[in-house]
Structures are given as structure tokens and as C-alpha cells.
């Protein structure tokens, strides 16, 4: 058994959330620069230029990248040989509380669907746990804004819909969302599992490294085809038309019932704020 200090967990969660809200991932910045060079109209170029200047300013530390600093989403992969001297979820929420306070981030969580009272500290985090072999703790930490999350969906297709059915659903979803999720977007797709599993693997898909591709040849091909077809929709930066609607398409799959083909589409805006840390 290895003991991981809960204070260390709190510190990592806090520092990670602050960092991702001020510093955009470098490979994302490179992709945005390439996207800007590809645009033909002054308008879409100028929007991508704003996004690039914005991340330079945010990096100086005076203002977060976006005013919607989101809900904290944490995937904790917990080694089965790890011991904690107390509740892990509380240590994580303590880190969230400290980050949103000390990092001057917006508290955007309300307690109840109808009375809408703010919890005042951006907790609780949305916490997903998984037990893994070994004595490590892997934390995937994200700040997820509502603009793109609100354009996401789960649809229960039937198996005969096939690849074409999935493609049509994804293209329609991205087109109908238009400028609202702050394109250029990253599209996370979960295919398989059941109703809730598809959503979970779609969320994990948007946390994948921006440059990786699926190791499954059929899925890799689908990722590439959807990337091209989404960009041919012409939605463009902030929906004003243009060459780049999505920066990446990531698909995760899971085995499913013989009668089901669940598909979840989780949309991530260009302000993709997440990080992975191993303790």
C-alpha cells in the first residue's frame, strides 16, 4: 500500500485549475494559428486573431481566458494499492474551492435546478472515479463551460443506422449548434456502452491529447472523415462562416447491447481547458 497525501491532492487540483484557466495548451495554440492562416475572409481571420491575442493576454495572469470558467470536472483513476488518510472527494472539492477563490475564477454552480442559488464556491465538482491496477492516482482535470456543453446530446440509435447514421447525427448536431458553442470546436464522440456510458466516454474523448488518433482503424478513419466533413459545413469561427469549424474529432467506443447503438456528442469550445496529472 502506498499512501497519497490528501493535502497533495488538494494542491494539485487547485494549481491545475488555475493554470488551465490562464494558459491555453500549446498544441491548441499551434492549431489555432494554422486555422487562422487558412481562413479566407477578413472577418473569420479577425475572430481567430482575437482568440490568439486573448490567450497571450490571459497568460500574463491578469484575466482568465474566458469569463465562463466552468464547472470543474475531474476523472480520478485510482490505483487499487493506494491508501488515503481520509475522503478523497473532499480533498478534490477543497482544491476546487481554493482554485476558484484564489484564482479569481467565476463561481458558476447553482445548488438546485429551480431555485438557482449559487453554491458560492463552485463546488461540487463533477467527479468520476475508476479503479485501476497499481499504486498511482491519475487525475484528469477540466473546467467545462456551459456554452458548448449545452449544445451536446445523447441519442439512442438502432444498430442498422450504422456508420452513416452516426455521421449524419454528428453533422446535424454541429451544424444546428452553429456559432453558439464558440467554434472552432473539438468534437468528443462516445459510441456504444449504454445511455450513460456513451456520455462518459464522449467526455473522456475531449480530454484526449489533441494530436492522437484512435488505434482502431475503423474509428480512426471515421475521426478523419468527420473532421473533413464538419469543416466542409462552413460554420466557421463563431459561426460567421469559414474554413475551420472543428479543430479535432475524437471518438471513444465501448461494447454495447445487441439491440443498441448509443451515440453521445460532447462539444468542447476552442477554450479547451484540461490537464492530466499523475501522483
Amino acid at each position: 500500500m502506498r499512501e497519497i497525501s490528501l493535502d497533495e491532492v488538494t494542491r494539485i487540483v487547485k494549481e491545475s485549475l488555475i493554470k488551465i484557466n490562464y494558459e491555453l495548451d500549446n498544441s491548441l495554440v499551434t492549431m489555432l494559428k494554422k486555422a487562422k492562416d487558412k481562413e479566407k475572409s477578413e472577418l473569420s481571420k479577425s475572430i481567430l486573431d482575437d482568440i490568439l491575442t486573448n490567450q497571450e493576454l490571459a497568460r500574463q495572469g491578469n484575466s482568465p481566458l474566458c469569463q465562463d470558467t466552468g464547472v470543474a470536472v475531474v476523472f480520478a483513476e485510482i490505483g487499487q494499492d493506494v491508501y488515503y488518510n481520509g475522503p478523497l472527494d473532499e480533498a478534490i472539492n477543497r482544491g476546487v474551492r481554493q482554485a476558484y477563490d484564489e484564482g479569481y475564477l467565476r463561481k458558476s454552480v447553482v445548488k438546485h435546478p429551480f431555485d438557482r442559488q449559487n453554491t458560492q464556491d463552485n463546488t461540487p465538482a463533477i467527479l468520476h472515479t475508476k479503479v485501476i491496477p497499481g499504486d498511482k492516482l491519475i487525475l484528469k482535470i477540466a473546467s467545462k463551460g456551459a456554452g458548448s456543453e449545452n449544445m451536446s446530446k445523447v441519442v439512442m440509435l438502432t444498430p442498422n443506422a450504422g456508420i452513416e447514421g452516426v455521421k449524419k447525427l454528428v453533422l446535424d448536431t454541429v451544424f444546428d449548434a452553429g456559432g453558439r458553442p464558440c467554434p472552432p470546436i473539438i468534437v468528443g464522440i462516445g459510441i456504444g456502452g449504454n445511455f450513460e456510458k456513451s456520455a462518459l466516454i464522449a467526455k473522456e474523448a475531449i480530454l484526449r491529447d489533441l494530436n492522437d488518433e484512435s488505434s482502431d482503424p475503423i474509428i480512426r478513419n471515421l475521426e478523419r472523415e468527420l473532421y473533413d466533413e464538419i469543416n466542409r459545413l462552413g460554420v466557421g469561427p463563431m459561426g460567421v462562416g469559414g474554413e475551420t469549424t472543428c479543430l479535432a474529432v475524437k471518438i471513444n467506443t465501448y461494447p454495447m447491447h445487441i439491440a443498441s447503438l448509443p451515440v453521445a456528442i460532447n462539444i468542447q469550445c476552442h477554450s479547451a481547458r484540461h490537464i492530466e496529472v499523475t501522483l
Binding site: T53, N54, L57, S63, P64, R106, N150, G178
Partner: protein
């Protein structure tokens, strides 16, 4: 590049067409969902709605020494059904992001008002155009309170104009 000063001179709105880049200077007011609901019922708001500019934003808290925190636009469609009563009372420009409903667009034209977008997710850049900020109404709403902002050359793009055009590719209303 077009410059507009607040309060907005209605006669200038006709010159605008979709895609125009507009720099707004003067005083503008923030309002999101909750503030809209209250403002509609409020007979004595603390500012003059005639010729006013409403910015859909809920900023992050200001760091010490800063005027305001990150201040980019929020999705405008959530305010579609709340916008008409305010346009009837004189609101002339609304700034947000993303597509809005057809019903909103029609009402906007009837009321001689304009919808503009600012770059979403560019809150650090946009906050650098805000020169002063104070909470004006509904302080209990926190980030959703109405702030009075003095802006200098705040960059927007015309998304819906008075001639019936709209800028967006894709997006259902």
C-alpha cells in the same frame, strides 16, 4: 471600421450591415437571464434605457488592481424571449454570441435595434477595452448583476442588421 458612441443615435443603425466591424465607446450595461427578468418588471431602473447598449456577460471577479475580470459574451439565445420588452423601452444594441430565434430577429427589426457579436472566449482581450466598471443594480445577483461599464473602442461585429440579413452559417433558431 465603424465607430459608435453611446447613447446610440438610431439614425446610424441603418448604415450597418452584417459583418461590419464596429467599435463602441461610451457607457454600456451588462445583463444576463436573471437581470433581464428583473429589469422587465422594474419601473425605475437606475439607467436610461433609451439608446442604450446591453452586453450579455457575467465577468469573473476582478483581480486586485484590475478594472474587471474576464468579460466575454455569453450565448444570446437565452435572452430571446426576454429582449422585446426592453427594446420597446429603447434598448438599441445587444451584444452576445451565437444564433438567435427568428421571432427575436423580427422583433429586433420592428423595434429598430441591432444584434452584434463579440468574439466568444476572448474575455481577457475584451476586458482590456473596459475602462471602468461598477455594479449598478441587483448586486445580490453576483456575476449576473447589472454592471455599468465604460468602454473604449469595444470590438463587435454586426450579426443581424435592420435590412433583414443575418451573418450565421448553420445554427437552428
Amino acid at each position: 471600421m465603424i465607430h459608435l458612441k453611446t447613447p446610440i443615435d438610431v439614425s446610424r443603425l441603418k448604415e450597418l450591415t452584417v459583418g461590419d466591424k464596429v467599435l463602441i465607446s461610451g457607457t454600456i450595461y451588462t445583463a444576463r437571464d436573471q437581470a433581464h427578468m428583473r429589469l422587465i418588471e422594474d419601473e425605475n431602473p437606475a439607467f436610461d434605457l433609451e439608446g442604450s447598449v446591453i452586453y450579455y456577460v457575467g465577468p469573473t471577479p476582478a483581480r486586485p488592481g484590475q478594472v474587471i475580470g474576464s468579460s466575454g459574451p455569453t450565448s444570446a439565445y437565452r435572452m430571446d424571449s426576454l429582449a422585446t420588452p426592453l427594446m420597446k423601452r429603447g434598448v438599441k444594441i445587444m451584444i452576445g454570441k451565437g444564433n438567435r430565434s427568428e421571432a427575436f430577429r423580427k422583433s429586433m427589426v420592428e423595434n429598430n435595434a441591432i444584434y452584434m457579436i463579440a468574439t466568444g472566449g476572448a474575455g481577457a482581450l475584451l476586458s482590456s477595452k473596459i475602462k471602468s466598471s461598477k455594479v449598478l443594480m441587483y448586486e445580490d445577483l453576483g456575476t449576473e448583476a447589472i454592471y455599468e461599464l465604460v468602454v473604449d473602442e469595444f470590438p463587435c461585429f454586426v450579426a443581424y442588421d435592420l435590412h433583414g440579413n443575418q451573418i450565421f452559417k448553420g445554427g437552428t433558431s
